[in-house]
């Protein structure tokens, strides 16, 4: 008995496991992600930024965001956000080391070419605009599961934790506000030193490469966002290492693409689940036949009853 049981079990495990186990192997052979020609984004040059925070103020103004008062500001005179949160879509921070080196750095949504948040969202509340590649959010669809926050490699989507009816907040390149009205995101619009500029990704990437080539001593060689998680539409160049500026070293493959490949391998054309169901149904029906054939079991009593009813 046990022998048969084991054999059956192995058969079952093999069938249900085959698709799932094969998935990561198959997923490794995925095609590289290419940025759309129409894709737009921003180039932030940390060496040009003077830390005036005009971009922070302008973003709040244009997108109608609340102020984030400093901890000891009883009069609530200052908007002094410490970090990105549900009231702050973009922020300027300052890196300083002991030897007098310093650099400003701007954080906001990186607008990934293959965004994890869009891939994760179960209801399509997080979307990517076709063509321009802007990643934006629709609060009317969102269920507030926060899977986008788990998925985002840059920890960008923020949630309105203190509110009874909360929503997700993140930069959408002013898609519905300044970009729509003036053709440029508010932060790029007001930047006095052009430390952050708006344009097509191709152009921005070429510009970044040009600046690095012209001033190799001033810049790090790396362009952050060129390859990270499959590439982002917002890219960075800086004089400090990106590690110092708070950017995590990230894999060059897109987690979203990897995850989708595994899911799609398992569920391709729904073949595996249907095959599993078919196989299980076949075995179960055979077992039921044997079981009823022998005429013993838990509900022999019930069967008599049914018999008399018919």
């Amino acid at each position: 008995m046990m022998k048969k049981t084991r054999r059956e079990f192995i058969k079952l495990a093999a069938l249900s496991g085959a698709g799932i186990a094969a998935a990561p192997l198959a997923a490794e052979a995925s095609a590289p992600i290419a940025a759309n020609e129409e894709a737009v984004g921003m180039l932030y040059d940390a060496t040009l930024c003077v830390g005036c925070k005009a971009c922070v103020a302008s973003c709040k103004n244009v997108n109608d965001m609340d102020a984030a008062p400093a901890p000891n500001d009883a009069d609530r005179l200052w908007d002094a956000p410490e970090d990105l949160d549900y009231r702050t879509r973009n922020i300027i921070k300052l890196y300083k080391d002991g030897e007098g080196d310093f650099s400003y750095v701007k954080y906001q949504c990186m607008h990934c070419i293959k965004p994890s948040c869009v891939s994760a969202c179960p209801v399509g509340a997080m979307q990517q605009e076709k063509g321009r590649g802007i990643v934006f959010y629709d609060k009317d669809i969102c269920i507030g599961c926060r899977y986008c926050q788990v998925a985002c490699p840059f920890n960008i989507p923020k949630f309105e934790w203190p509110k009874a009816f909360p929503k997700i907040v993140k930069c959408d390149l002013c898609k519905f506000t300044n970009l729509k009205d003036k053709g440029i995101p508010a932060c790029c619009d007001v930047c006095p030193t052009k430390a952050v500029i708006f344009g097509k990704r191709d152009f921005l990437l070429a510009e970044a490469k040009k600046r690095i080539a012209e001033n190799p001593d001033k810049y790090q060689k790396e362009i952050y966002g060129e390859f990270e998680v499959g590439g982002t539409n917002v890219i960075y160049i800086a004089g400090e290492t990106f590690d110092n500026l708070g950017f995590r070293e990230l894999e060059h493959d897109s987690n979203a693409a990897f995850s989708e490949n595994i899911q799609h391998t398992i569920y391709k054309g729904f073949v595996a689940p249907v095959a599993l169901y078919g196989f299980l149904a076949f075995v179960a029906l055979k077992n039921r036949k044997n079981h009823h054939g022998h005429g013993h079991g838990h509900d022999a009593k019930h069967e008599d009853k049914h018999g008399s009813e018919k």
């Binding site: 788990v150 009874a164 009816f165 979203a256 995850s259 599993l276």
Partner: protein, 391 residues
């Protein structure tokens, strides 16, 4: 058919009720003041114990029905059929707990109907697969349980609602005939969503520690759900034989035989994967993550190793101990993937707040409460007479 007419308002009933009331009070607070007011969740740790325990781990602990259905209907031809009903009830309650918790956890719960609108389906999302699959499985579990409810009416001598009895007598045999197709669906659906619960964290990339982050998460979660499921059956069966004064179910020993094979397969995949990715040394480096890995691995391997010895399998006490080890170790693994091994960036930390614990405790208490009442009112537990005949 002997019904279990037992007292419902026992002392444990009142204790559970107290926890339930506190839990639901905290849930009330959450809806008025926001999730941030009652929890330690943050933008770095948007998921806490409501997801890691109630959903990701709770549904695995509720896999008894699934694991047993594989044994009964697929592997050895209905032999342990008397056990299935209590396992299905546990599954139903465990999955209902997950459903409840999700509604507490969802920030914009009023939009949850999106899952029923095909225009909003986002099929790339692992969570979409999990959500739809779990909802479907809840329906299937309810259908699987229906015969037990119907039997209550079919066999009632002086029915309060004669019409209902008549109806039950008509439906029961028809349902009995097609039930097998739902049972098979009840095996397929957990296979799908338990593996997907693992896939959920793949997209978190390097935010999840490399000891746990792997493309093999789906198969690891699937096998993990199976051996947890069997261990829960052993656990429950042993416990209820003490609480309800029922004889120790011999079937448990046979089920205990399957567990080491599953666990061995799981451990082989786990270690081969770590080796293949070059993270075996990370797992044994001795840091915090490594220690967590060692605890979970020792619990799982230790519990399974005990079950390979006939001497331990024959002893109710040791079978119980190894089942507990496997449940705790298996759950620990799931916690590691969802919380312990999760490190979004420097500076983020998470430990559940008191109200978070109370909400989870309250929901679990509510679940046990419902289970106890249902078991006492309907023929769920294996019938002792039929039991003797089968044994």
């Amino acid at each position: 058919m002997a019904l279990h007419r037992e007292k419902i308002l026992t002392p444990s009933f009142w204790v559970l009720l107290a926890f339930t009331v506190i839990g639901f009070y905290c849930i009330g607070l959450r809806y008025v003041m926001g999730i941030g007011a009652v929890s330690n969740l943050s933008d770095g740790f948007p998921w806490g114990i409501w997801i890691a325990y109630d959903v990701a781990t709770g549904t695995a602990l509720a896999c008894g029905g699934y694991a047993l259905a594989i044994v009964i209907y697929i592997m050895n031809g209905w032999k342990y059929h008397p056990l299935i009903r209590s396992a299905i009830v546990t599954s139903l309650f465990g999955y209902a707990l997950a459903g409840f918790s999700v509604m507490v956890d969802l920030g914009r719960y009023w939009n949850a109907y999106s899952f029923f609108m095909p225009s909003r389906w986002q099929v790339n999302s692992v969570m979409f697969e999990v959500a739809v699959c779990v909802m479907a499985y809840n329906v299937v579990l309810a259908i699987e349980l229906l015969p037990a409810i119907l039997e209550r009416f079919v066999h009632s001598k002086n029915p309060r609602f004669p019409k209902l009895k008549e109806y039950a007598r008509k439906v029961y045999p028809k349902l009995d005939k097609i039930l097998i197709f739902f049972i098979v669906l009840g095996i397929t659906l957990p296979t799908m969503h338990q593996s997907s619960l693992g896939s959920m964290m793949i997209i978190a990339g390097s935010k999840l520690n490399p000891i746990w982050q792997t493309g093999f998460l789906p198969i690891l979660f699937l096998i993990n759900a199976m051996y947890i499921g069997y261990s829960v059956i052993i656990f429950e069966s042993t416990l209820s034989s003490v609480v309800f004064g029922r004889p120790f179910e011999k079937e448990v020993r046979v089920i205990a035989k399957v567990v080491p094979y599953l666990t061995a397969a799981w451990l082989i995949i786990r270690f081969a994967d770590l080796y293949h990715r070059g993270h075996l040394s990370t797992a044994f480096s001795g840091d915090y993550y490594s220690k967590m890995f060692l605890v979970e691995t020792l619990l799982i391997a230790g519990g399974a190793y005990m079950l390979t010895w006939k001497h331990f399998r024959m002893s109710p006490r040791w079978v119980f101990v190894s089942a507990v080890m496997l449940c705790v170790g298996g759950s620990w693994y799931r916690f590691s993937v969802y919380i312990i091994g999760f490190n979004p960036a420097k500076g983020w930390e998470y430990f559940p707040s008191l109200p978070e614990f109370f909400i989870t405790l309250g929901l679990v208490a509510f679940e046990i409460l419902g289970y106890m009442v249902l078991v006492k009112m309907f023929p769920i537990m294996p019938n002792l007479e039929g039991h003797k005949k089968n044994a």
